[in-house]
Symmetry: C2
Subunit: 477 residues, 2 copies
């Protein structure tokens, strides 16, 4: 909770910048005495509340929130064979209660299919029960052996939003996949984070799924970060867990299912996409403090200025804006530094001259300075917040545009993936993907790409020369 | 998720009533395949959201929310010797990641002192950092060997709100204890749940605390339920975890601490205190649906009635009331049954006659029927909700009053504890408490009782006859 002064490492040294920023901005403390487990500071947690509040609001339109247990008996986890194969190396096992060994080992959920679907088996009876759309926001666990990193690769994922839906047919489930993608797109739009949607290659799909659609964004260093996935589960799990319903003709049918998830990686993307060398830059939609008011109290009119700042704070609070009046006994420059580090979208400076001229000086976190008349300040601030959000979106779009290249062959691809992602024609064969991956030290991440920045792409496969379509290639976190 | 018809067991058979109600009202499913772990249905979860929203709002005034890891290394958990002794029989241990044994076993937090205080050691430096007041809402775990019961005795406590504060002196921490009690009192007042505050006997205090203040309520069967605890930790943990600060004179001092918690037992109390033979009865402050509108569409004016119901629904929603218009194709009686089971405070009936007379029929969940003019309906409904909340509080006070007896000797005590709790003079000695407990099949729960229904009590100890003061005696869940 110290607030040390001094410059951050430059964002061009992304890893150093990211780690230092998490600490300095009060997001996370990495000093917890177990590798891969981190502590949310209050400011970070306030940001998390707002981000997950936005996600819940989107889901609550036609989903309901529920809560299932953390502990999954080994017997349930092992029921779907592909699924357990996908997770068995990274499951944490509870083997003892007190000093007694348990009869059946309990897994800490890596994801909740095997906790939820035994209940769906009991709950789903008739076509009238469908579609069923539930979600939960929970902690989940992976015994990561790779290098861990706060918010990105964790052993306790503290904020896993997972939705699980049940439908009467494969086609209904496919419509839900489309709907989930639309939801996730809206969510990331609200955070000013442009994303690239693609279908993961078959060998990279979720264990037990028919197919997986992934949501990726591009980090400052050009690597991709998977920030959401949507899985069409077909009837794999419904056959394993006997999730059946009586159709309109009175026949028992296996249901089809989807599931889709977002973890706190959404917050890693938020921080990384918008932050700069002075700290966080937060979209107004989720910033814990949207406006900070700094009284400029030099000279004799200190009380008058402080009162004016308080008054403005109350007006803006009444207008539903999250405001902080910083009346601490510090020089203004120290306050600017403090709130810039925490990404506050707008700073209002109130000094004697502002009072005399009936206005307030506004400085955005991107450095744009203007004045707003005191009369009508609420509207002016709302407009400035909206303008700031647009500017952030524009800046982020520019970042993505600058880090996507459409290329035609391995040589161009190698040059491009060092600086971002590339789209290259690929025939769809695993051995060609392997060749592309090995030649470029990257991976084929997906096909059927949906992004405003990616034109339709066809051509000879970069590996074998056979007819191919555009594949997303990059280095992933 | 079935909605079976038929009567609940009567509330006088509390255990049967409680279990059946949790299922029928859509609070919890007890069929998860591990003992002591339960599933929150969406309606139950919506209630939980509102209850914990109210608790957070109270805490957020001068606490901040944070989040600490679930997994505590054995080495940290073992540092405070009394503390580990108090929990070692009921800790779940993670011993393996994938197929590899872990170097250091990890406990699932039974409570978070040993996860949080190593961080407080790092965070607290100076008197200027104090007081520090944080809380978190998390799942925590106890390997219960006793009979488990949903929301009351769980292996996964899904909703543990725990606050942990740090202060410069023992006296400052004592003030925080008083403040925490005030907060908890306000919280339970907002749920119309009267509580009894008392100081637990020394042998029942929290492991590692100087003393423990408990918040109890009385269940329908006369047994007590502990629904909150506040602990003065003195400097036990700060000495163990080296939580020190530099005082104004530049000297290093050990800090003093408190912690206080509320689990989903608050929801067990809410359900049990107010529910009746027809189902839940919920205070408007936390009811997921505050008002249900049932169109009475018999005969030819169906469209007009449906439109009027929708219109009323929109008006009330705009006024900030949580409203549901039940337009399902069911007879009104089935709808009444459904929403009564779910505890909805007010039912508005809208039929042709109501439309003609410019009014709406209102029936409270306690059965009071009246009419409110359509003009000014919003104010009328708000007043009816407030009146309903008062009625609930009055009813609950009456329940508590009827289940507390002040008695003077073992004979009277034995008769009284069968029907509720009793206050009896006790000298403070452990052997006398044991004698009282054995003679009455109950326990001495606390002293220094604070309750509107308990007068000051002194007299000869019911066991030894020496001078004593009032002790709370009852059978606890």
């Amino acid at each position: 909770m110290d607030d040390e002064q001094g410059a951050l490492p430059g964002k061009e040294d992304f890893s150093a910048w990211y780690n230092e920023l998490l600490w300095r901005a009060g997001i996370m403390d990495v000093r917890y005495p177990v590798k891969g487990l981190y502590v949310w500071f209050p400011f970070g947690f306030a940001l998390r509340r707002n981000v997950y509040g936005a996600l819940r609001a989107l889901l609550d339109v036609d989903h309901e929130e529920a809560l299932f247990p953390l502990l999954i008996p080994e017997t349930e986890l092992a029921r779907e064979s592909e699924h357990i194969k996908g997770f068995e190396d990274e499951v944490y096992w509870v083997t003892h209660g007190g000093t007694s060994p348990l009869d059946v080992k309990l897994a800490l959920r890596p994801t909740s299919e095997c906790a939820i679907y035994p209940m769906y088996h009991l709950w789903v009876r008739s076509h009238a029960d469908l579609p069923l759309r539930l979600y939960q926001v929970v902690n989940s666990f992976r015994y990561e052996t790779k290098h861990t990193r706060p918010l990105i690769r964790l052993r306790e994922i503290t904020s896993f939003k997972e939705a699980h839906t049940v439908h009467a047919s494969w086609e209904d489930a496919e419509c839900q996949v489309a709907e989930a993608i639309r939801l996730y797109q809206s969510f990331y739009d609200s955070l000013s984070i442009p994303v690239i949607i693609s279908k993961r290659p078959d060998w990279d799909k979720f264990p037990g799924a028919d197919y997986t659609i992934a949501v990726d964004t591009i980090m400052p260093d050009g690597r991709t970060l998977q920030v959401g996935t949507v899985h069409h589960l077909g009837d794999h799990f419904s056959k394993t867990f006997s999730i059946t319903y009586e159709d309109v003709n009175g026949e028992q049918q296996f249901a089809c299912q989807t599931c889709y998830g977002i973890s706190e990686r959404c917050i890693a993307a938020l921080i990384s996409m918008h932050g700069d060398d002075r700290g966080l830059v937060l979209p107004p939609s989720v910033a814990p403090v949207q406006v900070v008011i700094v009284p400029i109290t030099i000279g004799r009119r200190k009380e008058e200025v402080t009162a004016a700042a308080e008054d403005i704070g109350q007006c803006l609070t009444a207008a539903g804006i999250r405001v902080k009046v910083d009346s601490r006994d510090l020089r203004p420059g120290a306050k600017y530094y403090y709130w810039e580090m925490r990404g506050v979208p707008l700073r209002l400076e109130v000094g004697p001259r502002d009072i005399d001229s009936g206005q307030v000086t506004v400085v955005t976190r991107l450095g744009d300075k203007s004045t707003i008349p005191r009369a009508g300040l609420e509207d002016g601030v709302c407009a400035a917040l909206a303008g700031f959000a647009s500017a952030l979106t524009g800046r982020a779009m520019e970042h993505i545009r600058a880090h996507i290249r459409v290329v035609q062959n391995i040589g161009e691809l190698s040059a491009a993936v060092g600086r971002g992602v590339a789209i290259v024609p690929w025939c769809g064969k695993k051995e060609c993907a392997d060749f592309i991956g090995e030649s470029t030290n990257a991976s084929v991440l997906g096909t059927e790409i949906r992004s405003a920045f990616v034109p339709e792409c066809r051509g000879p496969c970069a590996a074998c020369g056979e007819e191919g379509t555009g594949a997303l290639v990059g280095r992933a976190y």
